[in-house]
């Protein structure tokens, strides 16, 4: 059956009438090749199906939530059982205590937990706890890092005021001098340093944190009585069975979590060390669905799988298999790839591709071959993938390299260029 997208096109047209721009946020395909499907009708394990019924091996994993596979039976059974028994009630269920115990038991720097819905909730609460504890205001953040989409942190400044961005100083990730300069610029007012566990910015090569940078961030916080915050929303549980910075031997004071902690069910969390318990207890944060029990039951099963299975080692091995296979295939067709990030959180871009022409054309070719990849955002390997799935992706990749080579001159990614132009203005 030939690949078609007529149902997706029809849905997009209807969406244009009732949703601004037809879609918004990170799942809008506005900045992806034209034929990327916007709407999906099914997910199972490592695969998803678009509204036209085309099947894809999904390397985005819902942009992170899918860690153990779509529709994981044990996790979803726990969700459904709690849903049928009582989910969003006038108080939390016992699962809230069990989940806080489980997370505190798993994450070495943590003594307490608070649960919320969005990753942005958790990063915003981290900022509030730091300011409440220190009675200082300035937060120091890495340039270009994503910490959510509230006015204080959203990547676009439309609808955002200067006051929303007051008390912020920026540094370059992994650059100790730049970090020191930012802390100096904060004067005596440093409340917190924010750090992504790895540099996983869009559009550019990913970087692991250097131990010097991570350790210096810890020292600077200690020197200034400020809080070190690791934003593990995206990478949490993907790199370690602990806070991601346990890999560099640095304990933050607070860490934010979300995405995968309930394998796609809506819950996020802020974890913190003992010294900041009182500051956390005296901010007022809440949400209509923050106490719902079903996502907490699902999170408990997910954390059990994190503890008891080799999911981490397998996703790393699968990621390495994908990386090696694609490198070899690209070379065979005369392309050079920039594959960065941990193997299980891969970002794949092309050498000599400033206008993303190759990346867009290759991803577009992959879509038509049943593999969903992203030309400029990090991807995710999930534990439901098998070696056969990875080999399928590599074969599709090989065929896609061949196709874009045969196509000759490729179109630059005009949509992206418009975005960059706007951002520069």
């Amino acid at each position: 059956m030939a690949w078609t997208n007529s149902k997706d096109r029809a849905l997009r047209e209807r969406a244009q009438a009732v949703i601004p721009n037809g879609m918004y946020g990170h799942q809008s395909v506005m900045l992806l090749p034209d034929d990327y499907p916007q709407f999906f009708s099914r997910g199972e394990g490592a695969y998803m199906w678009d509204a036209d019924g085309n099947r894809y091996l999904d390397l985005l994993c819902g942009y992170g939530p899918n860690l153990f596979g779509y529709g994981h039976k044990a996790i979803d059974d726990a969700y459904v059982a709690r849903l049928r028994g009582g989910d969003t009630l006038t108080g939390p269920g016992p699962a809230m205590v069990e989940l806080a115990e489980a997370m505190v038991g798993m994450v070495s720097h943590a003594d307490w937990a608070m649960f919320c819905k969005n990753g942005t909730d958790a990063t915003t609460m981290a900022m509030m706890v730091a300011r409440n504890h220190t009675k200082k205001k300035t937060i120091v953040l890495a340039k270009g890092a994503y910490h959510g989409a509230a006015p204080w942190c959203t990547p676009l400044k439309n609808g955002v005021t200067e006051a929303d961005r007051a008390n912020q100083v920026f540094y370059d990730y992994n650059d100790v001098e730049s970090l020191e300069a930012a802390v100096k610029a904060a004067g005596g007012d440093l409340a917190a340093i924010f750090a992504s566990p790895i540099k996983h910015d869009a559009f550019i090569d990913q970087e692991a944190p250097s131990p010097e940078y991570a350790r210096r961030a810890r020292e600077l916080c200690d020197e200034h009585g400020a809080l070190l915050i690791v934003d593990d929303v995206r990478a949490g549980l993907r790199l370690a069975r602990d806070c991601s910075w346990s890999l560099v031997g640095v304990k933050p004071d607070l860490s934010s979590w979300g995405k995968a902690i309930a394998n796609g069910h809506p819950i996020s969390a802020l974890l913190g060390a003992e010294a900041f318990r009182m500051a956390a207890a005296t901010i007022y944060v809440t949400g209509s669905f923050w106490f719902s029990a079903a996502p907490m039951e699902a999170a408990l099963v997910t954390l059990g799988l994190v503890r008891d299975t080799d999911y981490l080692e397998r996703t790393i091995a699968l990621g390495e298999r994908l990386r090696a296979g694609l490198d070899e295939a690209a070379g065979r067709h005369g392309f050079g790839l920039r594959q960065t990030g941990p193997a299980q959180l891969p970002l794949i871009m092309f050498e000599d591709d400033a206008d993303f022409a190759k990346g867009y054309a290759w991803c577009d070719a992959l879509i038509r071959r049943g593999v969903y990849m992203h030309p400029w955002h990090n991807m995710f390997i999930c534990a439901a993938m098998t070696e056969a799935d990875i080999d399928f992706a590599v074969e599709a990749g090989d065929d896609a390299f061949k196709a874009i080579k045969a196509a000759g001159k490729l179109e630059p990614a005009t949509k992206l260029q418009i975005l960059h132009q706007h951002a520069a203005e």
Copy 2:
């Protein structure tokens, strides 16, 4: 079987170790009588059961989400079917378009919809859209109104900076002169006026909006090119099958929704008029779980019930039956009640009860008689309640009046007094 709370006490003790203050947010029982259960194990229809197995007729309805009854079969079946088929994928499902169409079809001022998770997400987006459209900054809000728990709006200022509250001017709800003065104070910089659909502040009598106030808010926005925002998160679908201000004949530019729109499943929404579509399309807002399909399927079924059943007329009639029954019972025992708000969103307080001694004692007595009420927050009637349930609540109320009268001198609500003292500082 005697009412006991030993399991709840044990859970609370465990919670103290791993959750700051043992609980946070609106579902913390910190400001309720000591024996109020913190943890619940089951919900069904109009009832919930605490961790010790005590059953309550639940007049809080999850603080709003429960509109058609806990565990509503048709709504939850739709949720579960979508969950099993694919929920949090790499893009939304077709249900997102259908739900946007349904909400735009239902709400007369709306031409487009955006979905999110928290009520706070929707109110924050409303503020951003207004600022993006007008290129102005000042928002005018009613003193004491609740619009969420982000730094710009949370009721407590711990962890909040002055900059977080910049560009805000306050007015007194229903006071036209005060509203005019606030708009004047905004100078030429008015971006939006926020209004709750009714005055549903905690601790004080509820008020319906006067038509003069609502109309003047509309006029002032029109005169200044600012946006009128009705925050229907709490009261939406409880007062009308349209925006709540359709009852006073005033159309806002934007309205925020949440709580009951999927009968407890996690989803909120911002609705807007055509003129603001471009402003909404050019802010960047998103969340990990905003595109999940299962809550949208549940919302579609919920909105179908809103359209096709007499839930609204029934909840009003049940609320009136409760109000009349309790008034009569209170009078019989020599108490005067201040019952305010729409009948289906009742707030029940006592005359001559500045220290909430009567309110606390009566609610505490009700808990032991199987009725969960709140001494200072508005409550909710749900469509799963029957006349027999209301009569049960009235009988329990009558017996509780008798008990607190027999008790003689009542203890003032010390916890609340501490809060008020802090707030005054």
